[in-house]
């Protein structure tokens, strides 16, 4: 019986483990206890602290911190930055995955490595590079000043830095998924007379929708929460160039702790929503990947 079960389920279920391949109950309990203690100390207590500190001074202080004009403009700017960065990187992710997964060409692995670059360095460097190019002493600085265009220490700089740090998120999910799926279905569509765009819309995108959504969720969470890169290019002008994470920093540095944690609690809620959405999508995405794997090995 156990043998037939393990034939169908690739990961070995706990139930089929015999006494020889598991640990005595007291070892199991100690290990579970240690792991839970570590996670409690490093995950759950810090998360609970955010909400505790936010509500410590009462609900009035909490709500006032959220509806204050500077907080509202920070929310608006965060939504603008994510609203531009996520679609931009989504289009790029689909284009890059189409080129890389559906065609064989020279320099492909170099291209894949280059796409991962923005996540390899420090986010601070992401901010620095745009200051070097668009800042007053930068390459384009004099020209921009002459034409009265502001990029650094203004909204465009924040959007650019956000795009940079979230650059690979969608591409990174789509490339391996589309590579595993192969291009048989697309070739069939083309042979049957569909145009390239029809094939993309009707065949490719429906096949990768969960992977795409997964990438978008991760991309959005990072875009709304980014701090280091945005901090360099923002200039911290209240009500103008402050995103939510930067607003948290300003309030905290002014010792307005309750307000800082109130704003932080919105971001923490966003993180919880992200985790829930991610867990839900992961379930479908797992099936999509599994199907692709079986197809490519068949």
């Amino acid at each position: 019986m156990a043998a037939t079960v393990s034939l169908h389920v690739p990961s070995v279920g706990i139930a089929v483990r015999s006494a020889a391949t598991t640990e005595p109950a007291w070892v199991r309990r100690t290990l579970i206890g240690l792991a839970l203690a570590f996670l409690t100390l490093f995950l759950f207590v810090p998360l609970a602290t955010v909400f505790y500190e936010a509500l410590k001074k009462g609900v009035d202080v909490y709500l006032n911190a959220l509806i204050e004009p500077d907080a509202l403009s920070a929310i608006k700017l965060t939504l603008i930055a994510a609203g531009i960065a996520v679609p931009a990187n989504l289009v790029f992710g689909v284009a890059a995955a189409w080129a890389i997964a559906k065609f064989e060409f020279r320099g492909k692995s170099l291209l894949i490595t280059l796409i991962d670059l923005p996540c390899a360095g420090s986010p601070v460097i992401a901010g620095l590079i745009y200051v070097l190019i668009f800042g007053a002493q930068g390459w384009c600085g004099p020209w921009l000043q002459a034409h009265d265009v502001k990029i650094v220490f203004a909204v465009p700089g924040i959007v650019l830095a956000t795009i940079f740090v979230t650059f690979p998120f969608v591409a990174r999910e789509l490339i391996p998924l589309m590579q595993a799926q192969g291009s048989d279905e697309e070739e069939a569509a083309i042979v049957l007379g569909a145009s390239g765009w029809q094939t993309l819309w009707r065949v490719t995108l429906p096949n990768v929708k969960w992977g795409l959504l997964y990438g978008v969720i991760l991309c959005n969470a990072r875009a709304m929460g980014e701090f280091g890169a945005v901090s360099v290019v923002s200039g911290h002008i209240r009500g103008m160039t402050n995103t939510l994470p930067l607003h948290v920093e300003i309030l905290y540095n002014e010792y307005a702790f309750a307000a800082a944690f109130a704003v932080a609690s919105i971001l923490a809620l966003l993180a919880l929503v992200t985790l829930a959405a991610k867990t839900f999508v992961e379930w479908h995405y797992g099936h999509e990947r599994q199907a692709a794997k079986q197809e490519s090995s068949a």
Binding site: L47, V91, F92, F103, V124, L128, P245, L275
Partner: protein, 283 residues
């Protein structure tokens, strides 16, 4: 279009859109990433070798780099040990609330770093929940290098768990049964059978956590105290130099960090290739 196709494609394909997709990919990659990144190297090159060397060997810079890499190494090691433990518990045992805990492991990916930073500072400061327990024992965490390590451990937590967990789940029970039949006890089986099988994944997770910790800024600045020579990390020093309009100095440190990041990225790719080959051999 057709000329780029024949020039670049090493295998013919009936699918359209190669020129458009690759062209857009390269254009976007160049505009957002490659040209801006090259700006740092061009700027550093204008410095000349001697002044570059002078900047990056200044005592304050060396101290910040040593702190950044030292704290990251300790944090990544802590994550390797506890990450393996968490991955093992999640992959092997059943307990109440396991699904929820599994989902929460990714919290450091989802929680903005500034939020993590102020939460950890509030906890570990002298009047905080944990700080008030530790400070009477003479252990100061917030505003010291220990605090930096705590923050870096938090943000690196998911990497080891997420790389090791799938390998542990896929590990065939037959291997461990064979070890048991041959007379190994559980500890020997773990050391000689399980650990070598998860070693590439464990190392990859360690390298990912380390690379993330080296560049981290948001969660650290609040808890660090940011004293030059003592608790000032390299990314913060870049920002400090930028705020003083010392663009050359900031760029020099950035270049050092970028080169190290490239090396780490390369090492991670090699490790993943090694792990992938291991898995392919097993199947």
């Amino acid at each position: 279009m057709s000329s780029t196709r024949t020039l670049l494609l090493s295998r013919h394909s009936v699918l359209p859109g190669f020129g458009l997709a690759l062209g857009y990919t390269l254009l976007y990659l160049s505009l957002i990433v490659l040209i801006p990144l090259s700006a740092t190297f061009v700027k550093a090159a204008t410095l000349g070798w001697e002044s570059f060397w002078q900047i990056v060997t200044a005592p304050r810079v060396v101290a910040s780099l040593r702190l950044t890499f030292g704290a990251s190494l300790v944090a990544a090691t802590l994550n390797a040990v506890f990450g393996l433990l968490v991955a093992w518990v999640l992959a092997r045992y059943e307990f109440c609330g396991k699904k929820l805990i599994d989902a929460f492991v990714d919290l450091p990916f989802a929680l903005p770093t500034a939020v993590a930073g102020i939460a950890l500072t509030a906890l570990y400061a002298g009047n905080g929940l944990i700080g008030s327990l530790l400070e009477p024992q003479g252990i100061k965490v917030a505003f010291t290098p220990i605090g930096i390590t705590v923050a870096l451990t938090f943000i690196g937590l998911p990497f080891v768990v997420r790389t090791v967990q799938p390998v542990l789940e896929d590990l065939e029970a037959e291997l461990e049964e064979a070890a048991a039949c041959l007379g190994a006890n559980r500890l020997q089986t773990f050391g000689r059978v399980v650990l070598p099988a998860v070693a590439p994944a464990l190392l990859t997770g360690f390298a990912l956590a380390f690379a993330r910790a080296v560049g981290e800024y948001g969660s650290v600045v609040f808890i660090a105290g940011n004293m030059p020579m003592v608790s000032e990390i390299a990314p913060l020093l870049i920002i400090t130099k930028l705020e003083q309009y010392d663009y050359a100095g900031a760029t020099a440190i950035a270049v050092v960090m970028l080169i190290i990041a490239f090396v780490l990225l390369l090492a991670i790719n090699v490790l993943q290739w090694w792990a992938g080959r291991r898995n392919a051999e097993d199947n």
